[in-house]
Amino acid sequence: MTTRTETLPPTEQEIAAAAATTGRLRDALNNVLFGQETLVEMVMIGLLSRGHILLEGLPGLGKTALVKGLSRALQLQFKRVQFTPDLLPGDITGNPVLQEKEGGRVFVFQPGPLFANLVLADEINRASPKTQSALLEAMQERQVTVMGEVHALPDPFFVLATQNPIELEGTYPLPEAQLDRFLLKIDVTRCNVGTLEKIVLNRQIGVEPEIPAVLSHDDLTRVLDLAQRVYLPPVVANYIARLVEGTHSIAELGIRYGASPRAALALAAAARARALLASRPNASTEDVRAVAPAILQHRIVLDYNARLEGASTATIIEKLLAQIPAHDLERPKTLLDAKIQ
């Protein structure tokens, strides 16, 4: 028997208001990045889920521009950290500084760039594991501890990290446990010719696009709270559980280590956020299927044979979604092809 926290599902009026708000944000971001509607939607899902996002793509595809645009549209405090091998944990968390105060000398904490609502960790895999750990601890705890003193990070707190899939020499790939802290890992792909033409006509190097502020801090907080209240039916929760379990139990997929319970929570949160973006009061199995690749692809480790065959986590997740039906009922195997997912 499963138990669940009883929360009131959003009303139709609340959903309509949220739809208007998120619609404005979507339009603003689509004006920043042309032809990346899917990327914008996934970033918004991560935002509404209060999750951190890892963007992976080649340089120049607009990752940084998207994050900057997001901070302006949301009127959030934005900080950018360019990760390098010699970056120290104190460089991002902040350091105590010796100051003269009231005739004496005391250590005063000088906050680092992590103390912002929106932090862009550019090329996160170039920093040393020690610095990565400091960032990832802050992501998880939403606080930093310096010299035994705990400093809470501002709310909301989002980290959008980027990493380059090429030029891996001199980098420190994030270990699986740290990757698990990111709610979504989104592959940023290049755009087509039409989009490129639009970019050439509407953008200039060195000139950042004008982005209006579409959401206040209160609006954002309201929408974030609303996303948590989106109803998750038991059938969807069951589907999420079977999906995560499938990453462990279906041997033929070629997965060595499957997804964690945190991945199940991430799936639920992301499905709720997607439902809210679609102006629905409930999450659905379709929402789970839509967000599953971005949530699971960095949380599973392929076995040797799968890697030898050139399989990618994306293809493995496709197979997983194809094998696990939305309902947990067995279909007659021999005689009928009911064609129901």
């Binding site: 059938v235 409930n282 009922l329 067995e330 195997k333 021999t334 005689l335 009928l336 129901i340 997912q341």
Partner: protein, 447 residues
């Protein structure tokens, strides 16, 4: 929370879910009952064949089918029951196939209002493959129907027991022995010896009757018997002629000397008949040698009796030696059986002349109505390795072989203009002579 909607829409969606659940559950049951039903029908077809061969009443097969079907239906239901889905689960299927984003489940939970249920028919995703379901059932019914229709006859005792008819030589020897016993000419001990030899062959296992050794033994016995019968016939003929001559000589008083010579001749014939494989009875030999008379001559009455016995014996020996009835009769029977019991019988019954006004018997070579019974027997393969009668151009054998090419047979090409090319031995042959497959083989061989 929304108030639980029990409106018409809610009822309509629940009804549809219930119908879908019933369909799916029925199909779960079908998926398990159809293979079993197929095997039941196949078994029933065999039972029907057996019933018809045994001429048993058809109600046994009908009872078997009905009882088996009932058991299978119950068994399949027990198996499928654990896979049955509830209307609530069917609701999930319904909302999935209709892409309602779990709206129905949420409405059932009272979270959102029920979507409007359209009155027209909607696709519920139930799309069974009836071909997979019906083909095994129809195939089983076809088996049963075929078992009911195909010709089946009662098992013949001989066929059922696998009786093997004895070699024809055995029957022929037995016929000869019977004829000789009936004629009462030969010493019973010798006839018994022959009979024992024949019985010894017969007592072998029927499977061994047609082995090489048994056939040779039977053939030897038959030849021995045949030679003995011929010797007996010739001896009796010689004795009979002597007795007839003696009867004629007795009436001529001047021929006393020649009568004595004839008596000696008869005595020699008696000695010949007394020896051999089929010796005459002792008392007949004695009577041929003069019986109890002191001068070893036969009286007229003795001669008359002797002549009568010898004539009877000769007739019996001739009848027996000509008696190919055993083998011949069997051949006729076989032909008659094969041709509809007609011809062989008519051969023996061909007393009536046939033709116009020739009597009531039918004309020769006119067959009776075809026999409807299918004879049962073993199929024997026949192989003829004798190639002496094959004609020119006739395909005797096809074998796989590869052409033999002498790579040194041709040195080509030579030179042309300023270029000089030494050809590889045999290359021109396989390049220009053989078909592509052969050329490929040769190419791989030479390179």
């Amino acid at each position: 929370m929304f108030h639980q909607d029990v409106s018409a829409d809610a009822q309509a969606w629940r009804d549809r879910a219930a119908v879908l659940a019933a369909k799916l559950n029925f199909h779960h049951w079908l998926a398990r009952v159809v293979p079993k039903l197929f095997f039941l029908l196949a078994a029933s077809a065999l039972a029907e064949l057996l019933r018809r061969e045994m001429s048993a009443p058809s109600r046994f097969v009908a009872a078997f089918v009905l009882l088996g079907a009932a058991v299978i239906c119950g068994w399949a239901w027990l198996e499928a029951r654990r896979h049955f889905c509830t209307p609530r689960q069917a609701l999930v299927r319904l909302e999935t196939v209709l892409r309602l984003h779990n709206r129905l489940s949420c409405a059932e939970d009272g979270v959102v209002p029920w979507p409007r249920a359209a009155q027209e028919h909607i696709t519920d995703g139930y799309n069974p493959n009836w071909k997979q379901i019906l083909v095994p059932v129809l195939a089983g019914i076809a088996f049963l129907y075929a078992a009911h229709l195909i010709p089946v006859y009662g098992i013949k005792a001989g066929a059922a027991s696998g009786a093997i008819s004895e070699p024809p030589d055995f029957a022929q020897v037995q016929n000869w022995l019977n004829a000789l016993k009936a004629a009462d000419l030969i010493e019973p001990d010798k006839l018994q010896d022959m009979q024992s030899a024949l019985d010894k062959l017969r007592q072998k296992s029927p499977q061994d009757w047609y082995t090489q050794s048994s056939l040779e033994a039977g053939d030897s016995l038959k030849e021995l018997m045949e030679q003995s019968m011929n010797s007996l016939e010739q001896g009796l003929d010689q004795a009979d002629q002597s007795v007839q001559a003696m009867q004629a000589g007795q009436q001529d008083p001047a021929g006393a000397g020649s009568l004595q010579a004839m008596q000696e001749k008869l005595s020699d014939a008696a000695d010949n008949l007394a020896s051999g494989n089929l010796p005459l009875k002792r008392e007949l030999v004695d009577s041929m040698k003069g019986g109890g008379s002191s001068d070893k001559t036969l009286s007229a009455s003795q001669m008359a009796d002797l002549e009568k016995r010898l004539a009877q014996g000769k007739l019996a020996a001739q009848t027996a030696s000509k008696m190919n009835g055993g083998f011949g009769q069997e051949m006729d029977d076989a032909i008659g059986s094969a041709m509809g019991h007609g011809l062989a019988q008519r051969r023996s019954e061909r007393g009536a002349p046939g033709g116009l006004g020739g009597g009531t018997s039918s004309a020769p070579l006119v067959l009776e109505e075809r026999n409807k019974e299918t004879p049962q027997g073993a199929l024997t393969g026949v192989n003829n390795d004798d190639m002496t009668r094959t004609s020119l151009g006739e395909t005797i054998k096809i074998t796989a072989s590869t052409p033999k090419v002498d790579p040194n047979a041709l040195e080509a090409p030579g030179s042309a203009g300023a270029a000089h090319v030494n050809g590889t031995g045999g290359e021109a042959v396989w390049r220009s002579t053989y078909d592509p497959q052969e050329a490929d083989v040769l190419s791989r061989f030479f390179h």
